[in-house]
Structures are given as structure tokens and as C-alpha cells.
Amino acid sequence: MCTVGGPVDIDLPPERVKGKDYRCNECGERFKGIGKKPMCPSCQSEDVKEI
């Protein structure tokens, strides 16, 4: 069963959740995003640019 308290815990490749740095073109927020279509966490704009 689930390994709560047990010795096993698989390690997944860390690059899967490293994310890329983005800046929102609408509100200027900088954030780390993952996925194909990142969104600004502050204003929810999709007008973001990788930096």
C-alpha cells in the first residue's frame, strides 16, 4: 500500500517540476510556470513571456 512511514519513496526527475521563469505582460508579475499554457497567478492573464 501507500508508503506512509515506510522506507520506499520513488524519486522522479527533478526537471519535471523545475518550471520556467515568466513575466506577465499585463501586470508585471514574475513567476515560475509549468505546463504548455502558463497563466499569470496574479491577474490570470495568458499574455506572459518566458524570461
Binding site: M1, C2, T3, V4, G5, V8, D9, I10, L12, R16, V17, G19, F31, K32, G33, I34, G35, K36, K37, P38, M39, C40, P41, Q44, E46
Partner: protein, 157 residues
């Protein structure tokens, strides 16, 4: 196996544990807070919101967790590796287009949204969001799927 889903929630139930599967149904940014910082994921309407209860128990807290995330956009909190609180998490959640159940990870300690901790009776399933609902790899014997509808009503008095 394909299952249609709109606002319903699918219950995938084994003998000792269950999964709840719902569609995100809207586009929103989901923030994942982990010991290294914050990562934000753009969620699509066809993405799945999956709750796992590896130790079983009532379904209502799992339904509330789904609604907190998909309707109210509650950020996800990830515990550090080996955190003692991991064992106290009765319900865990993942959000994404494709989610695999895995019994070899510790509850609440993985920021990766493509995996979710499960009991071994439901481990190894791949759940994929589709336009109409979701698809799953073949379910083990003794596991059944039911559709649920739930609403939270508040009356001021």
C-alpha cells in the same frame, strides 16, 4: 475505458481505498507551494482533478477538496520529503491532463502533478482527461465506478 463527465464526480472504488475524478471545467492558474518555492501551472478545462484516499474513509472530504481547488483555486501545499505530517493526510489531490496512480510515493510530498499516491489495489492506473470526460487504463477486478453529484448549500439563520 471511457467515462463521460460534466459536473459529476466519478468514484473509482476498491475494497480499501478510492479515487475521485472530476474535470477542471475552467481555465485557471494553479499554484503549487513546495519547500523550494512556488510553481504555477496553467490548468485547462479538460484537465482532471483527482483525489486519492489511500486509506479509504468518507468521500465528502474528497469532494470538498476537489471543489476547493477547481472552483476556488486553492493552492496546493507540498510537504518536504519525510515530513511527519505525511501520514496524517487522508486525502491527496493532483491536477493535470494525465495522472498516474502510484503506491510507491509518500502522501503529499511530491509536487509533480502527473502522479498521485494510491493504495496498491488502485496503483498503476493512468487517468487521462478527454473532451467528453476521462479515460482510464483497465481497472483491476473488484474495482467499480459510480458517478456522484454533490452540492454544498449554506443557510444563514
Amino acid at each position: 475505458m471511457n467515462f463521460p463527465l460534466l459536473d459529476e464526480i466519478a468514484l473509482i472504488s476498491g475494497e480499501q481505498s478510492f479515487l475521485l475524478v472530476a474535470k477542471a471545467n475552467e481555465r485557471f492558474p494553479l499554484c503549487i507551494e513546495n519547500p523550494e518555492g512556488e510553481i504555477c501551472q496553467g490548468v485547462d478545462p479538460t484537465d482532471l482533478v483527482v483525489v486519492s484516499a489511500p486509506g479509504g474513509g468518507p468521500v465528502e472530504p474528497g469532494i470538498m477538496l476537489i471543489e476547493l481547488v477547481r472552483k476556488h483555486h486553492l493552492p496546493l501545499l507540498v510537504l518536504p520529503k519525510d515530513h511527519p505530517g505525511s501520514g496524517r493526510l487522508g486525502w491527496v489531490i493532483s491536477v493535470g491532463p494525465r495522472i498516474e496512480t502510484n503506491c510507491a510515493i509518500r502522501r503529499g510530498t511530491h509536487p509533480e502533478q502527473q502522479v498521485i499516491c494510491s493504495h496498491d489495489e488502485l496503483s498503476g492506473l493512468t487517468l487521462t482527461g478527454t473532451r467528453e470526460g476521462f479515460a482510464t487504463t483497465p481497472l483491476p477486478g473488484g474495482v467499480f465506478v459510480k458517478m456522484l453529484k454533490s452540492r454544498l448549500e449554506t443557510e444563514f439563520c
